[in-house]
Every structure is written in C-alpha cells, then in structure tokens.
C-alpha cells in the first residue's frame, strides 16, 4: 500500500508582515486522512500558517504546496475548491441568514451570476445538521451567539466540499459539549471521507484526544511535531508557554494537561 498523498506541505517556508518575521523555516506535511492540531502561545504564528496555505500571505522564502502543486500556481477559485478555511472572525455588514451564509460555501463551484441549485441547498442543510445548527437556518447571522455563529461558519466550510479543511480556533467560543462534538466532527471527516484537517486550537486536551499529530509552534518556529504523547510533555509545554504545567496520562495513554499556575 502506498503512503497517503500530501495534502498541504510547507517546505522551508518563511512568512513576514512588512519587516517583521512571523514564521521561519517551516517544514510541515499534512497528509490525506490526517488530523493535525496546531498548538502554541498567542502570536506564535498559528494563524499565519493557515493564511500561508491559502496564499492569503505569500512566503518570503521556501514553498507551500497543495496536493503537490506550488500554491502560487493555483488559481483562487481552484484553491477554494481544494481548501476550506474556518476563519476566526467575519460578520457580514448586511443581515444574511444562516442558510444564505452556508450557501456562500458553494461559491467556488458557481458561475459569476449563478444561483445555487437544489443540490447546493441540500449540501448546505447537511452541513448545518453536522454542526447541530439545523434549527438556526432562518435566523440572521448577526443575531446569533458567538458559539452558534462559529458552528455556522464551520458549516460553510463543510458545504465547500473540499479535501482539505483548515480551522483557526473553531472551538474558541464553544461550550464544552459543542467543543467536544466539533473535534469529533473533524475526526469523523478524517475517518469517513479521508479529509486532511489542520486545526489551530488552545484546547490541548481535546487535541491530545482526537488529533493524529500535534504541532507545537513557538516564536515562529516549529518546536515539536509528533503524536500527542511525545509532544505534550511537561518540560516542552513549560518551555513553550512559560508557565507551570502538569501532564497526567489517562488510562489509554493520552496526555492530560493542566495549567498548574
């Protein structure tokens, strides 16, 4: 059996905003059917990693490849058919409904003045069901709570029907139940559809439980990259986050992290 194909690959990639270096010499591969968590302190470059994969920022050095092709050679629309992004924020200035918002995920597959068909609507409704938001369908996006809105934005990414999903802190505003089911959802997408998932999060324990690999970013470089048990160790985390941290092992061997203060 051949190894799964590379979905996203950073090869010696460096990113900077103006003169300020944000990420240096990043070497990272996310394969098809792999669920990778990205962890690290504020300002360590996690969001830039997501932006680099979608060519929102272009590398100052090195190369980023999607499905083996240099992203600078892929058109915007083609890229949007390969990668869906769950961004941190984005509230429209006009009162679009939840269903209209999720249908925007179909845009890369539509013509310039085209309307969505019945199959697009069906896909959008499936995506809403997957994030437990079917009941919100007719509400205005601006009236929703932060957590509800976050689930709708995830649904929009699912409706995009891509092989790669990049999620930037998709559980930041979620309650415990929805945070757990969000990780379970991404795990299921990886298991059932073989998607490549890269998820930025501050929830170390859910990442430990559901991710295949976790990547620890610190000050613009990858400090560690491996299975959760190898990366989520007290010395490494204390060094990275600069606070007292306790790591216990659960019965199945998954690490469990507590900020001891």
């Amino acid at each position: 059996m051949s190894a799964p194909a590379n979905a996203v690959e950073f090869a010696g990639a460096a990113f900077a905003y103006r003169e300020r270096d944000v990420l240096c010499d990043v070497n990272l591969v996310v394969r098809e059917g792999e669920f990778v968590g990205v962890l690290g302190p504020n300002g360590s470059g996690k969001t830039t990693l997501v932006r680099g994969a979608t060519r929102v920022v272009t590398p100052r050095a090195g190369v980023v490849r999607v499905h083996g092709v240099d992203v600078s050679q892929i058109s915007r629309r083609d890229l949007a058919r390969r990668i869906a992004v769950v961004p941190q924020e984005g509230v429209p200035i006009f009162p679009y409904t939840v269903l209209e918002t999720v249908l925007m995920g179909r845009a890369p597959w539509l013509g310039s003045f085209a309307f969505e068909g019945e199959d697009d609507v069906e896909r959008a409704r499936e995506a809403l069901a997957a994030v437990d938001a079917t009941h919100l369908e007719d509400r205005d996006l601006s009236e929703l709570s932060g957590g509800e809105r976050q689930r709708v934005v995830v649904a929009r990414a699912l409706a995009q029907n891509t092989r790669i999903v990049l999620a930037d802190e998709p559980t930041a505003h979620l309650d415990l139940r929805h945070a757990v089911s969000m990780f379970q959802l991404f795990r299921r997408l990886r298991d059932e559809r073989g998607l490549a998932v890269l998820l930025v999060t501050h929830d170390l324990n859910l990442a430990a439980r559901y991710c295949d690999r976790v990547v620890l970013l610190a000050a613009g470089t990858i400090r560690a990259d491996g299975v959760p048990r190898d990366v989520l160790t007290a010395p490494l985390l204390e060094l990275t986050f600069g606070t007292c941290i306790e790591v216990r092992l659960r019965d199945d061997g998954t690490p469990f992290v507590v900020a001891a203060g």
Partner: protein, 330 residues
C-alpha cells in the same frame, strides 16, 4: 427574514418593479399643465417621455451604484458620492461654467462633457491613491475617496469665490441636481449605464462575499482586488454618466438600496437589479413631483430628494432597528 435568492424570486421581484416603472413612466408622460396624454403628442413624446427616461436612468444608476459602493467599501452608509467621483464631476462643470467653454463635440454642450471628464479624472486619481502594492482595500479606497472629495469641494469653493453673480447662480443651480437641464443625447447615457450595470451584475456573487470580509471572500475563491476594482470602476462610470446628465442628485443612491434591502434581503443577485428598477421609479416620481409642485416654476429634483430623502432614511433605519429588536426579544 426574506426568502433566499432563487431565479424564480428574481423574476417575481423584477417583474413587479418593471410594472411599477412602466406605470410611473406613463404617469410622468401624462402629467403637466398642457393636459394629460391627450396633450400635443410632441409634448408627450419629445419632452415629457425622454425626460422621464433620463430620470429613470439616473435614478437607477445612482441606486445600483449606492448598493455596489456599500458592499465594495463594506460600509452601509456609503453613497455614490462618498468617494468624490461626483466631486470631480462638479469641479469639471464649474470650470466649464466659469470659462464659458463653447460646445466641443457636436450635440453635446460643454458642461456635461467637462463634468464627465472631471468624473473620469477623479476615478483615476482615487484609484491611484487607493492602490497599495497591487491591492485595493476597502478602507484605502474610502480614505482616498474622502480626501479627494474634500479637495474637489475646496477647489470649487475657490472658483465660486472668483465667479461673477450670474456664473455663481448657474453653479448653484447645477450642483443642486436637476433632470431639467439634461442635454446629453439619450443613447449615450443609456449606453454608458447599460455597460456599467452589466459589469456590476457580473460581480453580484462576489459582492455578497466581499460584504462578509476580504479574507473570507479570498478563501471562497474571489480575487478580492480584481472584484473590488471592477465594481468600483463600473459603478464610478455610471456615477460619472449620471452626474454629467443631471448634476449630483442627493440621497437617492443612499436611500433606495436600503429601502430595497429591507424588502428583498441583502443578496446582491436580487438587490442590485431591484435597486436599479426601484431607483428608476423613485426618481421619475420625484422629478414629476418637482415639476408639478410649483408649476410653472420647477424645483430642482435634487432639492426634493434631499428634503424627503433624509427623513425617509431615518424612518427606514428606525423600522429596521425595531424589526431586529423585536426578533431578538422573541
């Protein structure tokens, strides 16, 4: 909540608005001191109807431009005049009035020609000032536009100061905005508007995504700078054509898109064409009222739209607010 945008809904909404527009045009052609439709057919077909059609084109263009600028700038308070395109046009018109330029092109007086040239120059300056390393961001465009507009207004003030009283009266009348003084050949105006409308409509889906945010639009496959540039240029071209014909007519381009959005919802595939048709009817009605109110004298329609536009806009915003509050309370 309004039903989501489908081709069927588009047909229904536009069908209703076309019928309304036809009725309004008929009413405009039938109203006047010289009698209704039974008046001399030359009055109906050579005076009233062409004037009503010009009013429709100007009102439609300003309204679709307002809707476009609101999405392109991500600012619901944007109007077609916020970026100074019309300011450049006004400056051009003032120069023509001051210099007393004779007609340079056969059939086109110099004031609309200079106004249009002023708009084009303003578009170029604003676009240049807003572009940054190959990107065109909403706030850069707004900044460049607002600065350009202030400069044009200042330059106009200087020219008005040196103008003689007759010239000043003409300048004031022109800047109030009226359909009455329109002297540009109708096919030219209609052609420019048609090109502008089509170019904007092509980006209807992009404008939906732009109003969510640049990064989201990018991740959904939109070349953000290209879409914003095209929409800005197409809308500005229409503003230029409208201002050249009628001067800057206030409030239509701000009020109509909001009123239409209240009924159709924010989806630009319906909002844009509906704004055009609704704005067309609105300005034909306003112009007919301005013509009839103080007959035989005429009120510049720009005065009327400004006087009724501001309170109407306020009422609309309050209703919008109440609708949202009611739903949140429920």
């Amino acid at each position: 909540m309004t039903p989501r945008a489908t081709p069927a809904r588009l047909v229904v909404v536009l069908g209703v608005l076309v019928v309304v527009l036809a009725g309004v045009l008929l009413a405009a052609a039938a109203s006047g001191p010289a009698g209704g439709l039974t008046a001399d057919s030359r009055i109906v077909f050579q005076l009233r109807l062409p004037r009503a059609i010009v009013a429709a084109l100007v009102g439609g263009a300003l309204s679709i431009c307002g809707a476009t600028f609101q999405a392109v700038l991500r600012n619901p308070l944007a109007s077609p005049f916020v970026l100074g395109v019309s300011g450049g046009g006004s400056l051009g018109a003032v120069v023509a009035i001051l210099l007393g330029v004779p007609p340079l092109l056969p059939g086109v007086p110099s004031i609309p020609l200079f106004a249009f040239a002023g708009c084009l120059a303003a578009i170029g300056v604003i676009h240049l000032g807003a572009s940054r390393r190959g990107h065109l961001l909403a706030h850069d465009l707004l900044l460049a536009g607002v600065v350009a507009n202030s400069f044009f207004l200042a330059a106009m003030a200087v020219l008005q100061y040196v103008a003689d009283p007759t010239q000043t009266a003409r300048i004031v009348h022109w800047t109030l905005g009226s359909i009455q003084s329109s002297t540009v050949p109708l096919p030219v105006t209609a052609g420019l508007m048609a090109v502008g409308v089509l170019l904007v409509l092509v980006h209807a889906n992009d404008l939906n995504l732009l109003s969510v945010g640049d990064e989201t639009a990018t991740n959904l496959g939109v070349d953000v700078t290209r879409a914003r540039r095209h929409a800005f240029l197409a809308a500005s071209l229409m503003v230029g054509a409208a201002v050249a014909v009628s001067g800057p007519i206030a409030f239509v381009g701000l009020f109509v898109p909001h009123a239409v959005r209240f009924f159709t919802g924010p989806d630009h595939r319906i909002l844009l064409p509906a704004s055009f048709l609704a704005g067309a009817s609105f300005l034909v009605l306003a112009d007919t009222a301005a013509r009839a109110a103080f007959a035989p004298h005429e009120l510049p329609v720009g005065v009327l739209t400004a006087v009724i536009g501001a309170p109407a806009f306020y009422v609309l915003l309050v209703r919008q607010r109440n609708r949202t509050t009611a739903r949140t309370d429920a």
